[in-house]
């Protein structure tokens, strides 16, 4: 069975993709609440 210690390239790409998406979601929520408060 393959070692889990070093994630493979595919797994590494999935980890990076999930991380980037979640960071962008958090930033988008932060900005959207401030902008909508400006417009309120």
């Amino acid at each position: 069975m393959a070692s889990q210690g070093e994630p493979g390239d595919r797994q590494r790409r999935r980890i990076r993709r999930t991380t980037v998406v979640l960071v962008l979601v958090a930033l988008a929520i932060y900005v959207s609440f401030i902008v909508s408060s400006m417009l309120a």
């Binding site: 980890i15 999930t18 991380t19 929520i29 932060y30 401030i34 309120a40």
Partner: protein, 544 residues
């Protein structure tokens, strides 16, 4: 019933035998670094989990000391020990420390330790970010505590930081806001790490509906964190710009509205309650089956109930602000949606009870704390239902009844569950059994004093005693004295907890891999030796 549902119990019950355990094959050749460098630079989930847990215990003691200042002042009517400004600082910083510095980091510490062990992963997916998010938290709380020594005193407007009052804070204001930003960034990074780990590093064969309940509750909690921590960060950023850059988000003089802050804050604040309690639900869902010697009743229903609670937590926020005035339709909506939370919560309480039904029960300390959680959290849930009724809440609002309610949810709720988890998993972490006799004394003292401390606050609130007030009418004297005696008893009991943890870490009866051998606990964490080696699951276990 789905196929997944049918196979789930079998899989977990076979983990001891069928899992190709690689844990024993850990790297003996590269252990932890030596000295302080190990703790500063570690990327190991067990080290970081330990640091989170120790940090939260220190914060629990500091926040607890602040609570004792509050209760000492309230021991008798009249002003005794502190001036009103400092009293308000204590209520504010006690809450901020307990919420963001004690309860949340404790659950993050448990998650760091147990999630990789429970899903068969070698570590968290983003280990360097894991280290960074921990040390960011240390920086955040150093700033917050140092803000107490700034000219004008620490923040004193309550943990909700409502404007315009909070804008009157002295030099501590920017420090406190920066501290909250750092703590929020730390939480978001922790949440991202947990989601990425669970979604990408589960052992082969472990589908989502085969995950342990603790992992499930943390996955849902992490999504909640990512959804609402940026909202709180946005709110406090706007406070900062209102204070220093001339904006008027929350100032009526410039066309803003202070009530807007309350809406934004509670859009974060209510899910925050579930951020603290959902991992506690997960812990209890691990412990009750073990000491009932049965599988968890209604696993799928528990998962869906957790997700339902998380969803509902986004649509109930204005029940915290019925008295600010809102259209009747709004009050009706927030009243009824709040009551709806009782349904999935009731499913959980029913399932824990059904798990114990006809089980072969034993009452080791983790089970005692889990049972106390079940009874006492439910009391907090019931008083929550009372407050959900909008017209009745007009009487309860800002009284000690509210203080009693949320402390029942958070102390014998979240804190008891965390203590249950520590007793349950500590032998796995340290390789030693804790002193059962002392632990039981700790449990009974905590369980008795927590009720002496908080139950009378229901009476005080119903009689009209307001919260966040350092002095009170003599009619409230008796129950305040009882409550303060309970507070000091509860505080003293926690010193025993510190001693038990210290003693267990230093030595004791050796724990087996299964720890609770005769209870045959379920899950991958019990397939690795005790103490868990520095590196576990270097090769993926196979979950059938």
């Amino acid at each position: 019933m789905s196929e997944t549902n049918q196979t789930h119990p079998d899989v977990l019950s076979r983990t001891h035998h069928d899992v190709e355990v690689a844990a024993q094959g850990h790297h003996d050749d590269h252990g932890p670094a030596r000295g302080i460098a190990r703790w500063l630079t570690t990327t190991n989930h067990k080290d970081i989990g330990t640091m989170y847990l120790v940090f939260s215990l220190v914060m629990f003691l500091i926040g607890g000391a602040m609570a004792l200042v509050i209760r000492a002042e309230l021991f008798m009517p009249g002003m005794q020990l502190v001036d009103p400004q400092f009293f308000n600082t204590m209520t504010t910083v006690h809450a901020l420390i307990m919420v963001f510095g004690a309860v949340m980091p404790a659950t993050v510490g448990l998650g760091n330790w147990m999630i990789p062990l429970q899903i068969g992963a070698p570590d968290m997916a983003l280990p360097r970010m894991n280290n960074f998010s921990f040390w960011l938290l240390v920086a955040a709380f150093s700033l917050l505590i140092l803000s107490l020594f700034m000219p004008g005193g620490g923040p004193a407007a309550g943990w909700t930081l409502y404007p315009p009052l909070v804008l009157q804070t002295g030099d501590a204001f920017p420090l406190a806001i920066f501290a909250i930003h750092l703590a929020g960034a730390s939480s978001i990074m922790g949440a991202i790490n947990i989601i990425v780990t669970i979604m990408n590093l589960r052992a082969p064969g472990m589908s989502l509906l085969k995950m342990p309940m603790f992992v499930w509750t943390w996955l849902i909690t992490a999504y909640l964190l990512i959804a609402v921590m940026p909202v709180f960060a946005g709110a406090v950023t706007m406070l900062l710009t209102d204070h220093f850059f001339g904006t008027t988000f929350f100032a009526a003089s410039g066309g803003g509205d202070p009530v807007l802050y309350q809406h934004i804050f509670w859009f974060f604040g209510h899910p925050e309650v579930y951020i603290m309690i959902l991992p506690a639900f997960g812990i209890v869902s691990e412990i009750i089956p073990t000491f009932s010697r049965k599988r968890l009743f209604g696993y799928d229903a528990m998962v869906y109930a957790t997700a339902s609670i998380a969803f509902l937590s986004f649509i109930v926020w204005a029940h915290h602000m019925f008295t600010v005035g809102m259209p009747l339709a709004g009050e009706m909506f927030f009243m009824l949606s709040t009551m709806l939370i009782a349904v999935p919560t009731g499913v959980k309480v029913f399932n824990w009870t059904a798990t114990m039904w006809k089980g072969s029960l034993t009452f080791e300390t983790p089970m005692l704390f889990a049972l106390a959680f079940l009874f006492l959290f439910t009391i907090g849930g019931f008083s929550g239902l009372m407050m959900a009724i909008a017209p009745v809440d007009f009487q309860y609002h800002d009284t000690y009844f509210i203080v009693a309610h949320f402390h029942y949810v958070l102390v014998p709720g979240a804190v008891f569950a965390i203590m249950a988890a520590v007793y349950y998993w500590m032998p796995k972490w340290t390789g030693h059994m804790y002193d059962e006799r002392l632990a039981r004394i700790h449990f009974w003292m905590s369980a008795i004093f927590v009720n002496v401390l908080f139950f009378p606050q229901h009476f005080l609130g119903l009689a009209g005693m307001p919260r966040r007030i350092p002095d009170y009418s003599t009619q409230f004297a008796d129950w305040n004295m009882v409550s303060s005696i309970g507070a000091f008893g509860f505080g003293l009991s926690q010193l025993l907890f510190v001693y038990i943890v210290w003693k267990t870490a230093r030595g004791g009866v050796k724990a087996t891999a299964e720890v609770w051998t005769d209870a045959r606990p379920q899950g991958l964490e019990w397939t690795v030796p005790s103490p868990a080696p520095y590196h576990t699951f270097d090769e993926a276990p196979l979950v059938k």
